[in-house]
């Protein structure tokens, strides 16, 4: 089978990894550790702060300044091959002294591994963390959502703006613990600001990327567009 990109079959790199099955009798703490955690310790040493196994899944706490190197290594190294970033999110605890955690969910399809990488950000300084957009393009919208809800600045993200709330939203970051559930403004003020938004002004040409798609169109359609034919409105 051929395709425009190399096809990776799940479990192709490790024949002994068990096929996916419904986990049974998984302990709350402890159990089998993802072998990538030990590899990370030998490779990065002190940057790996802690390794937990919670409900059969391995959490690796890493130093925030080393996140980009660690995730790039996990992605590139032939012994790891974490080729799928399924989520980027953050956790804020009710105890306001606790640091905010930024969480990456990584999955290695060839090795059938799942790894959760966490970095802790203390609140007495700007919440900044390197963006992994240069490694995984799927981080684009995930990091935008995390920025929108938690206010974490992903340094190196190409287009860090709000994604769920509208761009002129001025009330703060809704999933932070100090955010009141109904928002900070009165309902009339919220409605006034929402109605002031232009619904057509939300899309950037980068998102639509019509210009990029032009070369992929069939020849006949390209000729019609070049000749100035307009689509109906």
């Amino acid at each position: 089978m051929t395709g425009p990109f190399p096809i990776e079959y799940a479990g192709s790199a490790s024949k002994d990894a068990p096929a996916p099955a419904t986990p049974r009798n998984v302990p709350n703490r402890g159990g089998a550790v993802n072998p990538s955690a030990a590899d990370l310790r030998t490779r990065f040493g002190a940057s790996i702060r802690r390794v937990d196994v919670v409900w059969g899944e391995t959490n690796v706490y890493v130093a925030p300044e080393a996140v980009l190197d660690i995730i790039r290594w996990l992605h590139d190294d032939p012994s790891q091959r974490y080729d799928y970033l399924s989520d980027v999110t953050a956790v804020e605890y009710r105890d306001l002294e606790q640091p905010i955690e930024v969480v990456w969910h990584l999955r290695s399809l060839p090795y059938r591994r799942f790894l959760r990488v966490k970095a802790q950000l203390t609140k007495n300084r700007p919440l900044e963390i390197p963006s992994v957009w240069s490694i995984y393009k799927s981080a684009d919208w995930l990091e935008r959502e995390c920025f929108d809800m938690f206010g974490i600045m992903f340094v190196g993200h190409p287009d860090l703006r709000r994604i769920l709330m509208w761009e002129q939203y001025r009330e703060g970051f809704p999933l932070r613990k100090d955010f009141p559930l109904r928002g900070r403004f009165s309902r009339a003020e919220q409605l006034r600001q929402a109605l002031a938004a232009n619904p057509e002004a939300r899309y950037s040409m980068e998102e639509l990327s019509i210009a990029d798609a032009f070369e992929d169109l069939p020849t006949e359609m390209r000729q019609r567009l070049r000749s100035g034919e307009r689509t109906g409105e």
Partner: protein
């Protein structure tokens, strides 16, 4: 304390100059009969109410019996806006624009608890009732309403349509939002309409 005589209801006071003529009332009847039985809905489905709305339109409940089987996905050809589901603030300018694009005569049905009052979503993201954005004719309660409930709301709207009179010019007044704030009812009224109820009254808000 004696008995007061009951007013004589059978006596009808008749002032010919204040009444409509036979032709006007018959024409009203004809026009309203036609309108009420061919209301083309503009489905604005945003949540689970839209599933019930689809069930209402499907064969078991069959909106075609009301002449409504033609969903008008363009607001220009729609008569009744059916808002099925919660409306977040991000959609507020969208539903406002759809309402303004609909041609007169037009009506609106707010289907379900969330569209009518915000429902359980008394939070930062959800509009507390679409009547703060557009005028609403019929509110259908339920979470979500069963198809029978929606059909009852539609029949109430049909009753309302049948009672309209063509010499009542106020019926066709276009809603004019305040050009500065884009609100069409005063801000204190919106705040009052959005007041929390039930368990949520104990939550705090830092005001602006």
């Amino acid at each position: 304390m004696g008995l007061t005589p009951r007013p004589e209801h059978r006596v009808v006071e008749y002032d010919p100059s204040s009444q409509e003529g036979w032709v006007a009332t018959r024409l009203d009847f004809l026009v309203n009969w036609g309108r009420a039985n061919s209301l083309w809905p503009m489905p604005f489905g945003t949540a689970c109410c839209a599933i019930e709305f689809m069930a209402t339109a499907a064969s078991r409940f069959d909106l075609a019996r009301f002449g409504m089987e033609r969903m008008s996905f363009s607001p220009r050809q729609a008569d009744v806006l059916i808002c099925a589901g919660r409306v977040p603030f991000k959609l507020a300018p969208v539903i406002r624009r759809i309402w303004q694009q609909m041609a007169q005569p037009k009506w609106a049905i707010s289907m379900g608890a969330c569209a009518s009052s915000g429902g359980m979503f008394d939070n930062y993201a959800v509009v507390q009732g679409i009547d703060t954005i557009i005028p609403v004719d019929v509110y259908v309660p339920g979470c979500p309403p069963r198809p029978e409930g929606l059909m009852y709301g539609i029949m109430m709207l049909q009753e309302k349509v049948k009672r309209e009179r063509m010499n009542d010019a106020t019926l066709r007044n276009e809603m004019e939002p305040d050009p500065k704030s884009q609100l069409w009812i005063p801000a204190p009224t919106i705040d009052e309409l959005s007041e929390p109820f039930g368990n949520s009254v104990h939550q705090t808000r830092s005001g602006l």
